[in-house]
């Protein structure tokens, strides 16, 4: 059982949790993820480690409520417990030092970028984070990201704050030379359609681009193969070979199609949750 020490509601459907998990906090590196289970009959779901602190033995996760399990999780409060938590899983983000690193985050991706951008900034790299949301109320962790990276670029679809338009439009301007300047490396985390758009935006310029794939997973250790993603002409397991892959090689059509495997069952689960309420682990 893993205790929730802090909970913050970032947007109506986005919650941040700081959780006691000493071993994971010590081993974690930016870009890795955990798998958790909320209750005895619960599903195992993957979530990125948004931040970790080996001194206090805590990790931070940010979850967007999209279905039954994420809603169950979102309903937990400080002082309650998460039943199972395993990690850190996957490989850390690996980008060489010395260039202009640009992180692009959409949805929970903004949070997922946090500790990576901070570590790149701390080692002396030039860093820019581009985050986007439909409007300014849906932006996440703006203050934290501002500290974690040298430049922060905010985009909203409705122009309620920052640049009016998609993150990819702002990225394109930078590739074309707008300040803070052309990226040398890009890492994008967020919904798959956004990551695909980033891949298309940077393809022609051949700027090395990583995307953090989030297929459906079960074990997270290479045991089920459910998380397979086609990268170039090889099939990779996102949980052990990834989650980050070369954006220009990923077969996004296939990856997006595969996340729809359980659409009907996901609806059933949500309906059931609505009629029966949330079950707590503690």
């Amino acid at each position: 059982m893993y205790e929730i020490l802090e909970k913050h509601t970032l947007t109506p459907i986005t919650k941040l949790f700081r959780i006691k998990a000493e071993l994971i906090a010590r081993a974690a590196r930016p870009g890795q993820f955990i798998i958790l289970r909320v209750h005895e009959a619960g599903e195992r779901i993957p979530l990125t480690i948004a931040d970790y602190d080996s001194e206090t033995g805590t990790i931070t996760i940010v979850v967007q409520e999209v279905g039954a399990t994420t809603r169950r999780l979102g309903a937990l409060e400080e002082g309650e417990y998460i039943l199972d938590l395993v990690g850190p899983l996957g490989n850390p983000i690996d980008i060489p030092e010395g260039g202009h690193i640009v992180g692009v985050g959409g949805g929970f991706g903004a949070a997922a970028l946090l500790c990576f951008m901070r570590s790149a900034t701390l080692r002396g790299d030039r860093t820019t984070t581009i985050v986007g949301a439909r409007n300014k109320d849906l932006l996440l962790l703006v203050d934290e990201l501002r500290i974690a990276s040298r430049n922060l670029e905010i985009c909203t679809d409705d122009g309620s704050t920052g640049f009016k338009g998609f993150v990819t439009e702002r990225l394109k301007q930078m590739i074309d030379g707008d300040p803070p300047g052309r990226p040398d490396y890009i890492v994008a985390i967020g919904p798959m359609p956004m990551m695909r758009a980033v891949a298309e935006t940077t393809r022609e310029s051949e700027i090395p681009t990583l995307v953090s794939m989030d297929p459906i997973m079960v074990d997270g250790t290479g045991m089920c193969g459910g998380c397979r993603v086609t990268v170039g002409d090889t099939v990779k397991f996102a949980c052990v070979d990834g989650p980050c892959f070369d954006a220009h090689q990923v077969d996004f059509d296939e990856a997006i199609r595969r996340t729809k495997t359980y659409l009907r069952e996901q609806e059933t689960a949500c309906k059931r949750l609505e009629t029966e309420g949330v079950i707590h682990a503690s």
């Binding site: 990690g87 899983l89 079960v218 296939e254 199609r257 689960a269």
Partner: protein, 466 residues
């Protein structure tokens, strides 16, 4: 052995075999000749004193039968159910020549099931509720809570060591938990065995992956373990590399069975993990895993379950009993049929399996006849799901993070067969992680031998003998 009728059992996950009653069992036990040369013992990888325990049943001395069994096999209820007896103990039984062999496995199961009904204190020899205090100061870590790791841990605890088992998943048991279905091995039995281990003082820590959460070096340097046993299994599923394998509705048998067994997809939506099956399910392969998958698909509501295998029935590796039960339950078998492509619709869902017919040629490296495609014999089996049960290999997670551990080209740990000693000092390995996918009893035997070797080596380190 009495079993439930196919029609009755094929829509639920309750156990197929019902087990003997005492009069049945004693009757079967009487058939054993108590041979001068009990060759059956040689057929058993852990050399259970077979005639002796069977004789005890015939004499209605159940406590003695249970005691004899446990001296040689720490997991009798499980092995009695899942051992491939027909190629082990029962194959060599002298009765096999003229009659049917003594039902050694079924009798083993009977004794173990009887034992489970007895008061726990009686079995474990506990005098108080407290677990016995370890007599040895050394601590030993075990990686993986499959049969190899559990048996190794149990033996070490018996020898007085404090033992911690680290398991990556949220529940212990390995393949016994996530692979072998309830209708062959009820999880109650596994839970009982694990409970007994815990009572003997073994600590099981789930949700820790060695190589990710902790490293092997940390176990020695920070946690102060004197020896480590690796029982990490062979859990990495293989795929065929044919077109269409990433269509929606194609799963590895590991994913399919894990969703059902570990995650209880059969109870969806009471449990949160779903499985999406159509009417027709093809399972590729013909081992135990394939039989478990195809029979599970029927229990999950599929109308048709098919086995597709490129070799013939003779080369099938599944236990005879499972094949037999699968036939009774209406599974359709396509022997000498090699899948070459999985076909899908516009939305990327499986619609069929394109196959080519095969014939048998000269024997290959494995000694089995090599299947060769028959020209122009392609055809399509209409299907909604394809499940691949074409083998597994050891998981490289651990090796990648630890220095000094040699592996074979197939990713198996290099370890001495008799002791489990690896190429790294005080690190031992056994079970599927060393042999590649094999059997429960071989894994259990390897765990036991490694425990003995660890005991001997730690004694040597401490400069003492016992």
């Amino acid at each position: 052995m009495p079993e439930r009728t196919p029609l009755d059992r094929v829509r639920d996950f309750f156990e197929v075999n019902e087990g003997y009653r005492l009069d049945h069992a004693a009757f079967e036990a009487e058939r054993c000749l108590r041979c001068q040369d009990p060759v059956c013992i040689e057929g058993c990888p852990v050399n259970i004193p077979i005639p002796d325990f069977i004789h005890a049943i015939a004499a209605h001395n159940m406590p003695e039968a249970a005691r004899l069994l446990r001296t040689a096999n720490p997991l009798p209820a499980i092995c009695g159910r899942v051992c491939p007896q027909e190629v082990q103990c029962e194959m060599l039984c002298h009765m096999t020549n003229r009659f049917r062999p003594v039902a050694i496995g079924a009798l083993e199961r009977f004794v173990a099931d009887w034992e489970r009904d007895q008061p726990v204190e009686q079995i474990s020899g506990e005098s108080t509720d407290k677990p016995a205090r370890p007599a040895r100061k050394e601590k030993v870590a075990v990686i993986g809570a499959g049969p190899a790791g559990l048996v190794c841990a149990g033996e070490l605890a018996r020898l007085g060591y404090s033992v911690t088992v680290y398991e990556g998943l949220h529940a212990p048991g390995g393949v016994l938990r996530y692979g072998i279905p309830e209708f062959r091995l009820p999880k109650d039995i596994l839970d009982w065995e694990i409970d007994m281990l815990k009572r003997s003082g073994v600590e099981i820590v789930c949700n820790v992956i060695i190589g990710k959460t902790l490293t092997l070096d940390q176990l020695f340097d920070e946690f102060g373990f004197s020896a480590v046993f690796i029982g990490s299994g062979a859990g990495l599923p293989q795929f065929l590399g044919i077109p269409g394998e990433n269509l929606n509705g194609v799963l590895s048998a590991n994913e399919f069975l894990t969703r059902i067994n570990l995650m209880r997809a059969y109870a969806f939506p009471e449990s949160d993990t779903p499985l999406h099956l159509g009417k027709r399910v093809a399972v590729i392969g013909a081992g135990n895993t394939a039989m478990d998958a195809v029979r599970s698909s029927l229990r999950m509501g599929a109308e048709e379950g098919h086995i597709v295998y490129r070799r013939s029935e003779k080369e099938m590796t599944a236990r005879i009993e499972e094949h037999h039960h699968a036939i009774e339950e209406g599974v359709q078998f396509h022997w000498l049929t090699n899948p070459i492509e999985i076909l899908g619709d516009d939305e990327g869902w499986v619609t069929g399996l394109k196959c080519v017919r095969m014939e048998l040629g000269e024997p290959d490296e494995s000694g089995r006849a090599r299947p060769i495609p028959i020209p122009d014999s392609e055809f399509v089996l209409p299907m909604d799901n394809v499940v691949l049960a074409v083998g597994t290999t050891p998981n490289p997670l651990l090796v990648k993070s630890a220095a000094g551990l040699e592996t074979t080209p197939k990713g198996c740990f290099v370890a001495e067969e008799t002791s489990g000693r690896t190429t790294r000092r005080r690190v031992y390995a056994g079970g599927d992680a060393v042999t590649g996918a094999a059997t429960v009893i071989l894994a259990a035997g390897a765990g036991k031998r490694a425990a003995e070797a660890i005991h001997a080596d730690l004694n040597e380190d401490a400069g003492r003998e016992d």
